[in-house]
Amino acid sequence: MTTTGTPVDNGVNVEFLLGARGLLTDTPDAAKFQWRATCEWQNGTHSTSTVEGFFGLGEEQKHRTLRSFDADHPEIFASEDNGVTPVEYVLVALASCLTAGVAAVAQNREIQLRSVSATIEGAMDVRGILGVDSDVRNGYNDIKVTYNIDADASPDDIKALVAQSQKRSAVYDIITNPTNVNVEVV
């Protein structure tokens, strides 16, 4: 809990989120979202993905602007390194999802944040993707996230922020639990 008299402001509109939660309890269909991206091959391992539209609250929605993301592999894989690797995007997704969650939970618990930084490391044995050893998985075998948080709260309350953020994180769930993936060619 904050000890100062000023209201806690982490820039998160918790009233809106709580209101949305109440509303969507009664109208579960509006809670059905679809997130989308498109991907265009450029050359070699370089591709450009774009994100703009999505579906939610019962209708088509749009981001403020279309954004694009280049992905490639580094030069040590004989690629041109025109962008970060797809697996690094996964780390970015996890770190940004957990960090957004920390801010939201802190706001809800009336904890003022002063700084939040995270380092995220994913350990991977690339013999999997290179097909050297079929017993080695393609993906990460371990992901480690380290948070450094300065806030008006006890160490245990700060740990609880990070723990609750994991509990409510979409990307954390996507990574830690299986998901059916259907890839089709049309």
């Binding site: 723990a163 990574i175 299986p178």
Partner: protein, 411 residues
């Protein structure tokens, strides 16, 4: 037949309400499908003891007065305690009456059963919250070579096939069964999702003594932040035993039980576990820390620090840094699965539109949306202890006021 109130279910909740109705001279009948305290008698495993100490077994007008107030009743003892209570209060129980339907009728209800019909002004639902074991939908994808049981089927470890066992779920039921099966010499894997850690004793006293004293068990449904969530919180990892042993995950791993993450799916004969085990344990450790802080504050502010040993903290839950994310269920590494994944109530006989989209009754502290209908004995109905015997006592005493007020308004 006509009466003022029909109470469905003769467990602690239905009988507590019967006693309150009698005290106000409200004519009623208690309908019971089998015999008094049937679930305690027939639907629990052999070694189960009550989670709450004997001194906390209180019903309206009667409390435990036996020789072992700090002990924990066996299931036959609980059933006898409740049966004695039914006799003591001369409850108008009709046994062997299975209710087949409850529907609105005129200004009250029509309760149909295999033994006839009752017309009444008021219905009290006291059929319990733990009627049907909940098993995840992907259970149907399990290899047929496995033996599967629910806690309702499980009686003791001797009845299990030889070979390794996986217990799914780490609330009170899961940790107790996992421990018992491990002690039978079998390899045991415990799949752990969200759970509530609790020590049996703290600073020399039972955890229920602390939680009652500090008001945790009496916290009301209209005082908590999120009652929907509070009603779904799993039971604390507790067991009643002569040794007053703690059944947290550290106790389980110390006897060789292997922990894995929440069972997330079955794919081509492989169990898939969530990678969230560490966070689930951290959440439970932090929550226990907050509980103990609150108990210590209560002790200090009530001048108890000289009469109990000083505060201490429990070791954090030890978790393997990379627990297995999958298990082959066709290789013999697991022979039996026990689903300790919770229970749900059975309202299939209830023909009044009061269920929400999860199949639970819509109510406000036990006052059901349909006028003249009341609910008892479900988790956090009116307070944190609502699903305990002692909760039935206070909840019935609360609700009788509203019930009789309703009848007065009808008259």
């Amino acid at each position: 037949m006509r009466t003022t109130a029909v109470v469905i279910g003769a467990g602690q909740s239905g009988l507590a309400m019967s006693r309150c109705l009698s005290a106000r001279s409200i004519e009623h009948v208690v309908l019971e499908r089998c015999e008094v305290a049937n679930s305690w008698r027939k639907e629990r495993w052999d070694s189960l003891r009550l989670l709450t100490p004997n001194w906390q077994c209180r019903l309206p007008g009667q409390a435990y007065d036996g020789p072992d107030p700090d002990g924990f009743m066996t299931m036959p003892e609980v059933a006898d305690f409740i049966t004695e209570y039914a006799k003591f209060i001369a409850a108008p129980v009709m046994c062997g009456v299975t209710v087949t339907s409850v529907r609105r009728f005129e200004d009250g209800y029509l309760v149909s059963s295999d033994q006839g019909e009752w017309r009444c002004k008021v219905v009290v639902l006291a059929t319990g919250a733990f009627n049907v074991p909940v098993v995840p939908s992907f259970a149907s994808a399990l290899p047929s070579s496995l033996t599967t049981l629910t806690p309702m089927d499980y009686r003791n470890a001797n009845e299990l096939p030889e070979g390794p066992v996986m217990v799914v779920g780490a609330s009170a039921t899961g940790v107790q069964i996992a421990t018992e099966v491990r002690r039978s010499g079998r390899e045991v894997t415990l799949s752990v999702g969200e759970h509530v850690r609790g020590p049996r004793t703290y600073r020399g006293r039972d955890i229920h003594w602390w939680m009652e004293g500090a008001g945790v068990l009496d916290e009301r449904y209209d005082e908590v932040d999120d009652i929907v969530r509070a009603r779904r919180v799993p039971s604390m990892q507790l067991a009643g035993s002569d040794e007053r042993a703690t059944f947290d995950l550290n106790a389980l791993t110390s006897i060789g039980i292997r922990l894995v993450g929440r069972l997330a799916g079955i794919n081509e004969g492989r169990a898939q576990f969530s990678g969230s085990l560490r966070n689930k344990c951290e959440l439970a450790d932090l929550k226990l820390g907050r509980l103990l802080n609150a108990l210590d504050e209560w002790a200090t502010s009530n001048g108890l620090d000289d009469s109990v040993p000083p505060p201490y903290r429990f070791e954090p839950t030890a978790v393997d840094p990379s627990p297995p994310l999958g298990l082959d269920l066709t290789s013999g590494e697991i022979e039996t699965i026990i689903w300790a994944t919770g229970f749900r109530p059975d309202y299939s006989w209830l023909d009044v539109e009061v269920l929400d989209n999860k199949g639970m009754i819509r109510h406000e502290g036990g006052v059901v949306e349909s006028p003249g209908m009341y609910l008892l004995g479900t988790p956090f109905l009116r307070r944190r202890k609502s699903s305990f015997i002692d909760g039935a006592r206070v909840d019935a005493e609360d609700l009788i006021g509203q019930l009789s007020g309703y009848l007065d308004n009808c008259a």
